[in-house]
Symmetry: C2
Subunit: 215 residues, 2 copies
């Protein structure tokens, strides 16, 4: 099993700009990438590639294959899928709650495809046994896209049900899940900058410099 | 195993008032209650109670025991827990993605307590083998509260990891998860009133009467 993590650092996570400045967002996404890498490696995946538009954005000490591709996300991943002939797991770089046990669970499923939904109709992880038979279509309701693509290709699909694997970090409110349930590098980074504000409803984050998180 | 569903219909889900009027919200929560009831019953739980401030708010055809209690959520549930001497599953009434397989999974865990986190630090389900040894503390970061309470009581705890069981419906954005992943009465109700609007980020809901859903 091979893994690929699509990763973009420059001006990443713009929807977090109400709570993290540009430099902080770029530091944060780098730590999330390391968390995802550590989880995949702890789950026993040796060959981990990072698909990026800029080689320089990858920390030199990260034991990954770097695939540089200027093309858009879908085109770059589909070119990657066409270039390999072993089972592959595509994991997004913003899954700091993902744990090794979920990765092992996902890789052991017998179906042709395993899809882990993301928040708001997205896709956090796809595991494909025969990459050449599949193509990705991220953005919009990508979960429904990928489910339909697998069915059109006559591939069996398992939708993997995990709160941790389905928690991607895109918006300020997502940082609460990291503070409550996280334990890695990205969690520590956010813990140093935010605290939690409890009320009757959902917990909100409170920036330590009193920049109240507005969603 | 007994189940109890805390349920309040009057002016429910005020945070959905930007997309559903009062009458719609009350219809919607009633359908979500039926979805949760159907799931618990399909999972083999015979004795299902509804803990409510108003008996009249429960549909007469729902095969449940009705426990009327004017007190606040925590006090009412703690009184309930003190009154029963069998394992109990407390399920919130706004879990329309919950499936029977998750309920069976949760009831079969061997730990003293099983906690299913909700979004934003909440608690969606607690299963307690010995109710008299436990007490609840909902609101705020209730997941961390309940985890600490179990530990203080020397009770073993399992945190159950499920995207479906952890998806509670409180805010407009949550309705997207229902449209993408749901299949019950509440899903149909929302499907009749909203469509999905795709962009590069997460899918948003679009009211069919063009009341754009604002979070």
């Amino acid at each position: 099993m091979r893994a690929v993590i699509p990763y973009k650092k420059e001006n990443a996570k713009s929807r977090l700009s109400s709570v993290l400045d540009l430099h902080e967002r770029e530091e944060f996404v780098e730590l999330m990438l390391k968390d995802v890498f550590n989880t995949l490696r702890s789950a026993g995946i040796e060959n981990i590639d990072v698909l990026t538009t800029s080689r320089a954005s990858i920390a030199p000490d990260l034991d990954v294959g770097i695939i540089e591709n200027e093309k858009g996300l879908n085109e770059a991943i589909n070119q990657y899928l066409a270039s390999i002939d072993e089972p592959v797991l595509i994991a997004m770089a913003d899954l700091p709650l993902l744990a090794p046990c979920q990765v092992m669970d996902i890789t052991e499923k017998q179906t042709d495809v395993v899809i882990v939904p993301g928040k708001g109709g997205g896709t956090n992880i796809i595991r494909i046994m025969q990459p050449s038979r599949f193509h990705v279509k991220y953005y919009g309701s990508s979960f429904l896209n990928h489910y339909a693509i697998a069915q059109e290709c006559g591939m069996s699909v398992h939708v993997y049900d995990s709160f941790r694997a389905s928690t991607d970090i895109d918006e300020p409110q997502d940082l609460v899940e990291l503070l409550v349930h996280g334990s890695g590098l990205a969690k520590e980074y956010i813990k140093e900058r935010f605290s939690m504000r409890s009320g009757k409803g959902r917990v909100a984050i409170l920036s330590d410099t009193c920049r109240i998180a507005s969603e």
